[in-house]
Symmetry: C2
């Protein structure tokens, strides 16, 4: 994997995607960032309102080099984006915690994680065909295979759905893996040290109707 | 639980903590917000830098009506907070996904979640005693009981740790529970509908040394 910045396989590194610390954890490879984005469906969407930051949990999906952010036409982000002639300046962050890192010292405690930060300008999706496709990819991001097994949105429902599009151009990933980095003089201390893996999982589906569990759902909960 | 805004048991509702949609999901009870905050340890910290939003995953802990946000003295948020005479305007958001909500229509797909949004001004913790206590509560937020079973931070390590304090004064919670809300005319459609519970869990601890698994860790992974 070519992860050197500025190669076609990587996002160009900018001042604000260059961390001030733990630079060895940062990565710009598209493959790395795509993988982290594809492992989730909930991002934290940040924007500025009246000069102050706002961060809201938001469903998203990736389609190629674009993210779609899901909302309602009544949401503040969607309204603000619609009011801004050039779109809404946003920061979208996706984080997965993979493990708790217990060191022998309080200071060296950490978590293993994978995160992606996307800076850019989000624009409202207004074309009905793009909107319909975007809603489908959001549904499939949460549960792959589901979009083909539900009633598509009506024109009225599409009109009530707000989707923002955000191109992936200023993107960075950050990853921590591995065990604790104890100080040499701490290794003999009698405290347990190591990693506790964090594994998100699913409980048994709770059906609202009588239909049998579809394959795509069985695959999800069985994994 | 008294959840009426402006009661002593609730956070006062402000213009920016009043959602523009799904208001029935919003809550201001301190007990509700504390419970959601106490169920996590990773927040998404938003602030404004050069007029643009920045959202970073950040470890936190709650101590009474205050959050502590963990960073390094080299991090941009900590540096910016230290430069601002009155502190750094932030928005801190904590989100737990509890279930995937599969409706028979694409439009009514949703997730069950609990989230808290905190607006305020974060100030750097400079008092060494407060800093030490704050580092301990951050360690215990990730793994209750751990702070008492590791080497406390040295003066040098404390100096390299940045902690921001954020008082809980402008706070709102948002909660979705329950099954899908299908349109009456969709109920007969042959698509599986219901909820898939999302259950974060832990894998078997991976020790770096030979110490036996402590009780607080066995409790965590056994739960």
């Amino acid at each position: 994997m070519d992860s050197s910045p500025d190669s076609p396989r990587s996002y160009p590194r900018t001042e604000r995607t260059t961390p001030t610390r733990a630079r060895e954890r940062a990565g710009y490879a598209r493959e790395l960032a795509h993988g982290i984005l594809d492992d989730g469906y909930l991002c934290h969407l940040g924007y500025v309102r009246d000069g102050a930051p706002v961060v809201l949990p938001t469903l998203y999906a990736r389609l190629g080099e674009r993210l779609y952010l899901h909302g309602s036409t009544g949401s503040r982000a969607a309204r603000t984006a619609a009011e801004e002639p050039v779109g809404l300046a946003v920061c979208v962050t996706v984080t997965h915690v993979d493990g708790l890192v217990l060191a022998r010292s309080a200071f060296h405690h950490s978590v293993n994680y994978r995160s992606v930060v996307v800076h850019g300008v989000a624009r409202p999706v207004t074309d009905p065909a793009e909107k319909r496709r975007a809603l489908d990819v959001v549904v499939d991001q949460v549960l792959p295979g589901r979009a083909a097994d539900c009633r598509p949105a009506s024109a009225r429902e599409l009109a009530a759905t707000a989707l923002l599009a955000l191109d992936l151009s200023e993107v960075s990933a950050k990853v921590r893996t591995g065990g604790p980095t104890d100080e040499p003089e701490d290794v003999a201390l009698p405290h347990w040290s190591g990693v506790v893996p964090v594994r998100p999982g699913y409980g048994p589906p709770e059906p609202a109707g009588g239909e049998p569990t579809p394959d795509y759902l069985a695959r999800l909960v069985g994994s």
